[in-house]
Amino acid sequence: MFRQVLFTQWKWARTELFLYVIAGFLVPTIIIRVGFSFVDSYSTSSVLSVGQYAGVFFGGLAMLAAVGLAWRPYIIDAALKHVGPLSLPVPWAMFVRLRFVAGAVLMLIPTIAVWIGSIAATAAAPIPPTLHAYPTGLAIRFYLSALTAYAAAFLLQYVAGRNATRVAVAILLVVALMETGSALLGFHSPMVGAWNVLTTWPGPFSTFSGIWMLIDV
């Protein structure tokens, strides 16, 4: 049962997964290669900043993959009014769990691409002896971040249904407005406070707001 659900989601997502794999594999190499061509490879701070730039990309890729994998199956089922899943002899909660786990498994594909890409990118880079490459740590962080975003997007989609996009945009808009308001006018917004709790350590989304270091001390 799970294998068939996984296979179905794989067939739906394989084109975008292919793009994530290409991106996860190539982009770290490009950033490191191009970055190192502009900096003094013996300058620790310059090399660190190159690694940092590569990290920003990984956060974006994790978010993109997470939202895509979380929303696509729901959208396909919703277009057919969920009649297929609801008529199967399994409880809805079990079907949703199968969907969730299948997406989480598929998320391993871009993660592996990021891991291999990071190893390849840093293997040939002239990293100073005081610094080290952390491709495995970065790949683990990528997966955990993607999983967190995936769980949030999945939850939002299955709770808000067809309004999920609107709800997500509305939340982001409100947070942005509050953030701007509190910065310009100096008032304290509970919404901004809640956002900060979620996005700073130990909040679940703090992995996205922190610095992703492919190369570190």
Binding site: Q4, V5, V83, G84, L86, L88, P89
Partner: protein, 304 residues
Amino acid sequence: MSDAIIVRNLAYRAGREFAIRDLAMTVPSGSVYGFLGPNGSGKTTTLRLLLGMLPIGDGSINLLGHDVPSGVHKALAKIGYVPERLHLYPTLTVEETMRYYASFYPDWDDDRAETLRRQFALRAEQSVDLLSKGESGKLMMLLALAHNPELLVLDEPTDGLDPVVRRDVLAALLEYVSSRGATVLISSHLVHEQERICDHVGVMDGGRLIAEMPMTTFRGGIKRLRVAKPPIDNSTTPFTLLSRGVTAGREEEWVVRGWQPAMREYFSAGESELREVIDLDLEESFVELLRSARQPAGIGAEEN
């Protein structure tokens, strides 16, 4: 004979406009039950309620001995369902779709599925995206039949199909029913099609089940009577008067249900004269039944 589906006092509301009210329905085991009704009468909603896809407002449903919604998943394992709007996943091939469904049904029969695929001339490697409407309909019927269901719930299964495909689908259905003794609940507004295959019939209109009876009763029991010098009071008729309307002079046409030849006595006992008893075909019976449900007998006569 036990009953495959028992519905009592079922109620459901969808928005302000539409509601299922006080619906009672019994589908005997082994029967082919035609669920008739005009578009928007509540047939699809009722079927979805039966299968636990919508929350029940009030009342009870028993499906193959299991209460809905608590035991619906046990019942669904023994039910083949063809929805009104076909549910097939894009990008999968016919074979992949069959494998997908097979994984959910413990009684899935690979040999039977393969036989049906060949019978319906579906190519295993054909993408579902590229199937014609007729082929999609055949694939849905295959998926409904391949796990040897005890009950088939078919929501407009032949709607929009060309006559050749429709015949193939109905032939497969009848072959299955005759060999397995399965129960079929088939919703349609194609009255003639129902007439050929059903032995029981229920008629929905406006969210209510306005009639439920064996097909023979439905087919033979509704008549149009030409009555001369009709009685003004029709409260003591031995049949159910569905409608009455003036045709010419003092002659009226009555549409009645539950007619028996011996009931001629009713007219000869008074001043009235029964001039003709006209058989109605199923479609005419269906239309008259709907008309009478929307406009009780007597009102038509006053208007005429």
